[in-house]
Symmetry: C2
Subunit: 256 residues, 2 copies
DNA sequence: CGCATCCTTGAGGGCCATCAAAATGCGTGG
DNA sequence: CCACGCATTTTGATGGCCCTCAAGGATGCG
């Protein structure tokens, strides 16, 4: 059926999830084709790997086709997770306009990525302003998610941060029609979660126990099961509007 | 003298600080003129005011000409500061491509702003791809700063967060040739700083005392004085590369 | 000179880090 | 199949950072 992900992936196997559930409906067939054809190489990485490194300059950008990656910044001793990506995300469009990178991109579990040369992106900027705006939009989504993470870190305890992260990942997966109604598969470890929460893995473990005992969500190796969606979102102070999905569901009611 | 801020401001009074110290040298005279002329109205706001509100849709974007603004997100009880802007920043280019806003823009002290209609921005997207890329670049700078804040919040104590914030503000002011060699003027209160640190104003007060006693930096009503730049940056784990300034100074050495 | 806002200090308690140690699951090779 | 190594997960005890509640001092403005 036209409009479904299956239909999109049949025609655009590498970029069919790009902006799905958001502004993909605003893309013309021509634009979808241009983007799909911009990918000159596809790679499958089965082991965790740092595919982009802080400080370096690249002449391509990366589309995440399958799997998960983490955007990280290294500290003196620890690694810090500053954002998370799901299939359909253009993970480092940032390095197109910024040149050198201020962060790393680390894969988590098995991943399939597509590479787009910056030369192609420059052509798109020059010849297809509407598509260019959509690319811009996708980087602004990243910025909006970063802002939410800043607020989350300023406001929430570790258990609530985890609830927020689970809510966000689940919501984003559902927008690209991954995961299911009871939760999602993920290769994330407790240590990865700790990197994203600014906590130790030891404390994350206790916080996960709290979520389990409250019957909110359950983390097992390789899977997150949501026991109570409403409670999860409430506990994690999650309101999906910052993800700019389609439909009224994603309009935050707003606090008084 | 050509190239100095004074010379730029003489010709482009409202936009002469845009990307100064970063990619402004990459802007042609024509592009500078287009941007300056895109501002259809200038306003001076003497009292703290929320100039952009979460959830609303705007048909203009805002250039900060003088003064400071805070990008905030409201919680149930508290306000959270997710970023900070200095003169020359295009504070809400985000709302051009995102439509509705996921955050607020609050002024701090007296502020002068210029408004740019989105219609003009669409024309720039269509007719001036290079200038469009520079606008994109400026929003990516915001994203890079958000990432650094995420890391800062995951990693640092309140006193160190303050050191980081002071370092960042000072560095950004110097790029647009504001502030001076010993520090900078600012209308920020301890309560504003608390909103940016995810701490209470009470604790910020104690943390400022620590910076004072360590002879690192001094906060008085309306002014931050840096006593020891090297110590400030070290204590706050500040490395300026994420601000993408010109020159080798801003290239992080990188951790082993 | 009264009021509002901002700054400062003290006491008690909760969240989370650190140090230490053990249990579990998983793949490899004998 | 079992032994082993390794990463991941789990639990306990102690202490530091920061929150809350409470109160008072400074500063600026009408």
């Amino acid at each position: 059926m036209p409009g479904t992900i299956t239909h999109e992936l049949a025609r655009f196997p590498n970029t069919g999830r790009f902006l799905a559930g958001r502004l993909r409906h605003d893309m013309s067939e021509v634009e979808k084709r241009i983007l799909e054809d911009a990918i000159y190489e596809v790679a499958v990485l089965d082991k965790p790997k740092r595919i982009l490194e802080h400080g370096k300059v690249y002449d391509h950008s990366t589309m995440l086709i399958e799997g998960f990656v983490l955007r990280t910044i290294d500290g003196e001793e620890n690694r810090y997770g500053v954002s998370f990506h799901v299939p359909g995300d253009f993970v480092d469009l940032h390095c197109f306009a910024l040149k050198r990178l201020d962060h790393n991109i680390d894969t988590i579990g098995e991943v399939k990525v597509g590479y787009v040369p910056h030369k192609k992106l420059r052509e798109i900027m020059a010849d297809h302003p509407h598509l260019a705006r959509l690319l811009w939009f996708s980087t602004l989504l990243d910025a909006a998610m970063h802002r939410e993470w800043v607020m989350k870190l300023e406001q929430l305890t570790t258990a609530r941060r985890l609830a927020h992260i689970f809510s966000e990942i689940w919501c984003r997966l559902r927008m690209v029609e991954l995961g299911d109604e009871t939760g999602f598969e993920t290769p994330l470890t407790q240590s990865d979660l700790a990197d994203m929460c600014g906590a130790t893995s030891i404390h994350v473990n206790r916080a996960l126990k709290e979520l389990r005992e409250k019957d909110i969500a359950q983390f097992e190796r390789g899977r997150v099961t949501i026991r109570d969606k409403r409670q999860l979102e409430e506990f994690g102070c999650f309101q999906a509007d910052y993800l700019y999905g389609e439909g009224a569901i994603h309009l935050r009611e707003g606090y008084a």
